[in-house]
């Protein structure tokens, strides 16, 4: 559908949250707790963190929770009763998601909707509306423009807000879901905005490498063991990068039992963990941290893009900000980007 522009006045933000609440929608928005900014359920616009570049963790959990029940069971003597999960997810609005994170939602969707349809994910997906927030600030970790995004990208969002100098927002209504939400909030979005120069309001993020060439370069350095070893020498395999990543989708399946009851759980996992690929026999196809680091980059920049025709990394920079040993993915990607083909 054609993008429609409107204006959301700053004084309409409060009523926006009130009306969405009243309509029974769960609202997830960035909230500050100590030094951390996370997407959490909020009921009022006053709770939202302002003036930040990037939230500490992504909003990924709204469609793909860190831990979720796949099914539950009860055992009585030798008989086991199985209950597949059948709860209907609550309609949810994610407010203030960055364009990079909104693009990552598309990458997640590709994984869970390709071939086998993963209903645990898709049922949540259907209930979610994304209100994106363009970036007016960026830092040295940001590299969205190198992987096909930009600080005002509309990809993935249902509505994209761009802050104006006077505190109001330019609102771009991008999808039917966005249109439905705007229609349900009658009057809050005012006419206007067609003459606004959006580009001039956005953060400047200079492109550092060409993502389109990255697959060929990754494939070219695949057997360069020295490069992978050098890049991953500091990696302690903690998995923090994967847990803050908005597009990492790998998971583990684990059973938990409490007396006669239990659950089968889906939990986030990371290719950076040695246990990820370890066979029961003791054989491990990726037995060194260098191989696991290579897998992380190959998956995001070679295998993923080939399979889903979408970038597997959105350049949010969280992995570099979160790394306890200060590995910077951008620096490592630049080294590979310099490879002559």
């Amino acid at each position: 559908m054609a993008t429609e522009r409107k204006i959301l006045k700053k004084e309409s933000l409060g009523p926006l949250f009130e009306k969405m609440n009243a309509a029974g929608k769960r609202i997830l928005a960035p909230r500050k707790t100590g030094e951390q900014i996370r997407f959490e359920p909020v009921t009022s616009a006053n709770e939202i963190a302002a003036d930040f570049v990037q939230s500490t963790a992504s909003a990924k959990w709204a469609v793909f929770p860190a831990v979720e029940e796949m099914l539950s069971f009860r055992s009585l003597d030798k008989e086991t009763k199985l209950e597949a999960k059948q709860s209907k997810p609550q309609p949810t609005v994610v407010f203030g998601i960055r364009p990079c994170d909104a693009a990552a939602f598309k990458a997640l969707h590709a994984v869970f909707a390709t071939d086998y349809k993963d209903d645990l994910f898709l049922d949540r997906w259907e209930q979610i509306t994304l209100i994106g927030m363009s970036c007016t600030k960026a830092d040295d970790y940001c590299f969205c423009t190198s992987v096909g995004g930009n600080p005002g990208s509309t990809v993935g969002s249902d509505i994209l807000l761009t802050p104006l100098a006077n505190g109001d927002f330019l609102a771009e209504i991008l999808t039917e879901k966005g249109q439905q939400l705007v229609a349900s909030l009658d009057g809050l979005f005012a006419a206007g905005g067609s003459d606004i120069d959006k580009e001039s309001l956005l953060a400047k993020v200079t492109p550092k490498f060409d993502a389109k060439q990255m697959k060929a370069k990754m494939d070219a350095v695949f057997n360069n063991e020295k490069l992978w070893t050098r890049q991953s020498l500091r990696c302690i395999g903690c998995g923090a990068c994967a847990f803050v990543c908005p597009s990492c989708s790998c998971f583990d399946i684990q059973d938990e039992r409490y007396g006669g009851k239990g659950q089968r759980l889906r939990c986030w996992d990371s290719c950076g963990f040695g246990l990820f690929t370890l066979h029961t026999s003791g054989h491990n196809p990726r037995h060194t941290q260098a191989q696991r680091w290579r897998q992380r980059l190959m998956h995001k920049f070679s295998y993923g893009p080939e399979k889903y025709e979408l970038p597997g990394c959105v350049g949010c920079g969280r992995c570099s900000r979160a790394c306890p040993t200060d590995m910077n993915i951008l620096g490592h990607l630049l080294e590979i980007a310099e490879e002559k083909l």
Binding site: S249, I253, T277, Q291
Partner: protein, 279 residues
């Protein structure tokens, strides 16, 4: 809201347990829901996630042939948490099964050809499915040769079936055990599978080779097959990466551009040669 949960297993009843070798058992499983059993179909080479609620899921191939309807069989060695729990089950108990998953051996394309099966140790089960599938349609194929080795005589699985195959005039069976693994009355070969294969030197003319075994056996078997004249496109194997979801989502069996669970587990040697060595 969708009606189905992809991860919900079928509830299967263990009809029969066979002790194949030390720590190795075969379960014959039937569907507790008749309707589900009637609608269930699979092909040779496919696998499933076998589970005990509270312990977890484990990945094995379906070891019975799709030509035998009404049940499936799996053969496993007790090794980790799930297989240890499975090994404690008794006939009549119930357990979970999700599947069938993965691609299949293109057995329909092999009509009119000879088949050479080469297996080592606990890797006979994935091949047993194809062997019985081929033997139940015996007229479709020319020569059928089976070379199977294990560490010791005691470690050979499906002993009763090996005996049957050995007696059949339309099957050439060669069994072998590693040096030192023989018993005084052992009548088979003594030596590693690749060596025995080289000595037997089966013809590669119009023949498909199917190889399953531990990585070390596979590594030394491919060169022998090449020497015998087999092309990479005519050698098939199954890869056995660690899996959880079985349907190309959870990520751990990713090797190169493939998910072993969804794009495999059956690959030709031509495909395997192109993969990064992460299997």
């Amino acid at each position: 809201m969708s009606a189905e949960n992809l991860y919900k297993p079928y509830v299967m009843k263990i009809e029969k347990i066979t002790q194949e070798a030390p720590e190795v058992k075969t379960f014959k499983l039937v569907f507790t829901d008749e309707e589900e059993g009637k609608n269930f179909n699979f092909k040779a080479g496919q696998f499933g996630e076998y589970s005990i609620l509270g312990e977890g899921e484990s990945t094995f191939c379906i070891a019975s042939s799709p030509t035998r309807k009404g049940y499936i069989e799996c053969t496993f060695r007790r090794a980790g948490r799930v297989t240890s729990a499975l090994a404690r089950l008794e006939e009549g108990d119930t357990m979970g099964f999700r599947g069938p998953y993965g691609n299949t051996f293109p057995i329909d394309d092999w009509k009119g050809k000879s088949l050479l099966f080469i297996a080592g140790g606990i890797a006979l089960p994935p091949m047993r499915c194809v062997i019985w599938n081929a033997l139940d349609l015996r007229e479709n194929f020319k020569d059928v040769t089976i070379i199977y080795g294990a560490r010791t005589v005691n470690d050979l699985v499906y002993k009763h079936e090996l005996e049957d195959w050995g007696k059949r005039p339309d099957v050439k069976l060669i069994t072998t055990v590693d040096p030192g693994g023989e018993t005084p009355d052992w009548k088979g070969e003594i030596g590693f599978v690749p060596t025995v294969l080289e000595k037997a030197a089966p013809s590669s003319a119009n023949t498909i080779a199917i190889v399953c075994g531990p990585p070390i056996m596979i590594k030394f078997t491919f060169p022998v097959l090449t020497k015998l004249g087999f092309t990479p496109e005519n050698i098939f194997t199954t890869l056995e990466n660690r899996m959880k979801c079985g349907i190309g989502k959870c990520g751990r069996c990713n090797v190169g551009k493939y998910f072993v669970c969804k794009d495999g587990p059956v690959f030709t040697f031509a495909q395997v040669k192109e993969l990064p060595p992460e299997y």
